[in-house]
Symmetry: C2
Subunit: 643 residues, 2 copies
């Protein structure tokens, strides 16, 4: 049986595989999902569209990002900052493109974004080349593949242009992108060229540009870039060729390695190429490396990458909570990759990973006022922490000398509604529940889904289905991996359904108006680390639903040092605490009395003080009150972690 599921009216959000692509799921159109202001996600997106987008635009306009482009018009000043400051402009433009439909058409910021497009058009060279760093230095093009980021920066231009085309915002940007992309074809399309960029990104961007334009040469170039990488052509550099992901060909890789963001962007590009070229071997390689990440190199917040020195992933099970690098851009990249794997396979585990990332690693990177950010997202900050210079500060910062993360957050949040729901030939899948309406066409007739829920703080998810046709189709709802028990009713009638690859699937005639209620049991769960994760041995992480919780110094009684606190018991969940706009988990703890000054002891004669109760807050809300120590992994009493 085949029922038709059509695209919504707009051509889609980020990632729109061609009809010929090997995909299990299809994204809906960019205007298909409208998040309603009551939800947690909508509130966050609203903050991003308002405060964050204004903040990022201003920083881009006033800093090196616009400055380096403007200097090409002859103010005589040398270009400054990082070689990839143009990418901050591109990511900001992409954010405006995804946001445009939600903004007032008279929003003055849209004019300012259009002025940035006009500036790009003016500084683009006659042959299509565009890179303020190389143009500003009068340097040779493509002369620094290790660190020049020329293809990386071009990739962000292409992604912004694709967003502009799909949303109809920012006219002119696609023309700039195509001119540059066509120049790349003349320079790099020859399969015998060994050139690859030190920082992957252009691969996924070229596939999306192919999808937006139909120009198969872009797909071919992306495929060549994937195939060329992994033969050591980039050399050793400061950190070795694995850092560039140039030590092993992508299709032979079996473990996640190197610079975290580069690894994850590369996997997204490889996946995009694989589904468009029906390359199962390449798709298997991507899934294999993703699995390696998940089983040995993922923080409980979903983040990746333990090493500060080279922003790299680190060894298997090397997951220090204090020196977690856990770069914001790596979390965003992993979210992007998860979406692609979900579309390609339909397997719920990829949506589970996206959920963990979104609610923890990514959400923590932005302050509650939307204007300060973490670049690195530690899971522990000690009393008296020395954060170093922009490395792992105890507070979010308004900007960074390497400013990749804030505009990356802006572009993700502007289009975040596009990652919630998909369709197949047979139905609709809700991956990430949040209050929203979903418009689609199924079985030749319009469907409207209305989702009502307090998720992620409450496990009850109500989906109202309105549909005119008696042609049956399948509504799928994700059962998150963290959920051990759930209940399902349709129009109030209990409807037992076993989860299949992460989803309960309701195949039936939906004609008329029906109400599906999924109730996910959402108890507080204590997570223990795999015994090979040395850094948090004897500790537990407190979670509830998709949220990881943290203990902050500000919630401790005066004089208690966070490092001495031991978790005794979970007391329960409470609506909020002072300054915490989310449920808190109350726990009973005790202060372990340190055994004196000696660092190493033959008999650790510690004592335990009187128990007292403290609230834990969602990890993503940490560092929004008084600055201080924080920890996600909390030790149990010395005689063993609580079970």
């Amino acid at each position: 049986m085949t029922v038709g599921v059509h695209r919504a009216t707009t051509p889609g959000g980020p990632v729109v595989p061609t009809p010929a692509a090997h995909q299990v799921l299809r994204p809906l159109g960019h205007d298909a999902v409208t998040v309603r202001p009551t939800g947690w996600l909508a509130g966050w997106r609203e903050r991003a569209l308002d405060a964050t987008l204004s903040h990022v635009l201003q920083r881009v306009e006033e800093g090196e990002a616009r400055g380096n482009l403007a200097r090409l018009l002859g103010d005589g000043e040398p270009v400054r900052g990082m070689p990839f400051t143009d990418s901050d402009v591109y990511k900001t433009l992409e954010a405006f493109a995804w946001a445009a439909g939600s903004l007032d058409p008279d929003d003055k910021r849209l004019d300012r974004a259009r002025e940035l497009v006009a500036l790009l058009a003016r500084v683009q060279e006659a042959d299509g080349y565009l890179n303020s760093w190389v143009q500003g230095h009068g340097g040779e093009r493509w002369s620094d593949p290790q660190a020049g980021h020329e293809l990386y920066t071009a990739g962000h231009l292409f992604q912004a242009a694709v967003a502009a085309q799909r949303t109809g915002a920012l006219p002119g940007l696609m023309e700039i992108a195509v001119r540059f992309a066509d120049l790349l074809l003349t320079r790099f399309a020859d399969p015998s060229s060994p050139y690859v960029d030190g920082h992957p990104e252009v691969e996924t961007a070229l596939v999306e540009l192919f999808r937006a334009t139909g120009e198969t040469s872009y797909l071919d170039l992306a495929r060549h870039q994937i195939e060329r990488r992994g033969h050591g052509w980039l050399g050793e550099g400061r950190f070795g060729s694995a850092y560039f992901l140039d030590a092993v060909p992508v299709r032979r890789a079996d473990r996640a390695t190197g610079h975290a963001v580069r690894q994850l962007y590369l996997l997204s590009g490889a996946l995009d190429v694989a589904v468009e070229t029906h390359d199962q071997e390449l798709l298997d390689a991507v899934a294999r490396v993703w699995t390696d990440l998940q089983v040995s190199k993922t923080y409980v917040t979903g983040a990746h990458g333990s090493r500060h020195r080279d922003e790299s992933i680190g060894d298997a099970y090397e997951l220090p909570p204090d020196r977690a690098y856990a770069e914001t851009c790596a979390a965003i990249a992993a979210f992007h990759l998860g979406w692609r794997l979900l579309l390609a396979t339909g397997e719920g585990r990829y949506a589970d990973a996206m959920e963990t990332l979104l609610h923890n690693a990514i959400a923590a990177a932005m302050s509650t006022d939307g204007t300060s950010f973490f670049y690195s997202n530690p899971l522990q900050v000690r009393t008296g922490h020395d954060g170093g210079h922009e490395d792992a500060p105890s507070r979010r910062l308004p900007w960074f000398s390497c400013a990749c993360c804030p505009p990356n957050l802006a572009r993700l949040l502007s289009g975040v509604q596009d990652y919630l729901v998909t369709a197949t030939e047979h139905g609709i899948q809700i991956h990430h529940p949040t209050p929203a309406t979903v418009d689609a066409v199924v079985a030749g007739a319009p469907v409207e889904l209305t989702v009502r829920t307090g998720y992620p703080h409450d496990g009850r998810i109500v989906v109202e289905v309105e549909h005119d046709s008696p042609q049956p189709w399948e509504l799928s709802l994700r059962i998150p991996g963290w959920c051990g028990r759930y209940g399902l009713t349709v129009d109030g009638v209990p409807t037992p359904a076993a989860a299949d690859r992460g989803y309960v699937r309701l195949h039936r005639d939906w004609a008329g108006r029906h109400e599906v209620t999924l109730t996910l049991d959402m108890p507080v769960r204590l997570l223990h680390p795999h015994p090979r994760v040395d850094a948090v041995r004897g500790c537990v992480a407190v979670t509830r639903g998709p949220l990881v919780y943290a203990l902050e110094e500000v919630d401790l009684p005066p004089g208690v040092v966070l490092e001495d606190v031991r978790l005794l018991a979970v007391l329960g969940v409470r609506a909020t605490a002072d300054g915490v706009p989310a449920p808190v988990v109350d726990v009973r703890v005790a202060r372990e009395l340190p055994p004196g000054d000696a660092l190493y002891l033959t008999t650790p004669d510690t004592g335990t003080g009187e128990p007292f109760d403290v609230p834990l807050i969602p990890y993503h809300l940490w560092a929004n009150r008084d600055p201080g120590a924080m920890r996600v992994w909390i030790p149990g009493p010395a005689e063993g972690a609580p079970r």
Copy 2:
């Protein structure tokens, strides 16, 4: 009562405080202690004088270090490598100076060292300036205080020159140093100058140059350098002013912070200034920061510094074993600082720290063949470790792009016998027992001490005393902090003596020939971390005497993954195992069966396999057999670490 203790015939080794300095202990002359070839330390020193010194000299001659100096004579090549390559030459020359008395006078390597001195004389500018990096670039002098290392490099020249003068080796080097030092006086002696170098080192070197030449202006300049630092003049740089130790004045500091080597070199300089200027406040500051290090920022191997990104010390209790940076040069710097604090105070805890460093952190940095080295000294290497590029490799490397550590090891080992024994007005103190003879003059008559011991592998220490005068004096022997029980006899007669600030003290008439036997109980000890040291919670470190032990993958049965091994019991000590030239500690372990792939678990249902026995080897011997995983801190069974 006062008895005379005179210097031996040579003017001393590294660190010779003036008679007016505030010191409790006095070093002996450089020729006063002769280590006998049977000892562990003598074997190591012999390897250093033979293989290491040859290797380092060759690398210096053939690499950038000599190359950059030679290029100043007109081969037209640009200078290469790091701005401080001259310091590799200086440290190598210092090593030859301390070694000279132990080498065959016809050793051809001495000629080659003299040729390096001649080269320095040729390239030194007329006004005394000497720095191949600045001269080779035609750059402005003193224009890059953050990163230029000009005073740092000068400091190593001065230290080499002092060694050359004290040992009579390498004539001409002191003249070069004095010419440069006098130029520094004209440039920096004005107390109103704010200039300090990003890398401390010149401070301690200037005090030693003052001691060697009697020129008080050098001491004044050292004092100014100490006082100027800590006011933020160096700016923020990439890592903030704390990285340069420029955020807090030395005399107000209360915690160890910033770049580990810089912190430790600075403290040595401050201590040297303090004792020569009778500045108790400054001495107290140094001791305060040292204590902060010991109680919260010291690895069980004695090493300091957890952070790879900026080679910095890290937060209190931030002591990850896997990502320990534990730079070799920081361990050497801490050894130097410990010696200065020991001399200034006479307190055994400083000698304890030196002992831990020497037998573990420093000894591990050199291979058993003396020609490969660790720059970073982790306490754990996981299965399949990704060491990155020169960062934390699983094997020692022959050289480094930043080659500070190998010549630093060479200069330490060449003069290591000078750190073993001291004198006071009242007697002689043996801090570090090893087979040796000690020549001194006490109470107007020569004393010869002959030390016989299997230390550090055996706790029995026999000291034969030969003396001609009936004037009583005090022989002190250190009781290490790790030692809970000891026995003492004099001429076979049990002589109970309580330890006083780390030493048993025998005050008596030593006329004739007497034999003192100190027997230190040396059981295997399990050390537990302070509960705030999160990274090794639930683990124990196995130690015996001053030696920390490690478990290496090569000693495990095939198929057992080191990360799964749990320590059950200590079985005992055995002479050696295959390829291990030291006693091993046999332990019983079990393999913990991992609970599957999930990284985070609600019920960690691990199982424990059949126990089996494996040997642990001294940590300093790791990575001398087949490469593989290693760990110092070994987890106990999941229900709690063994007590």
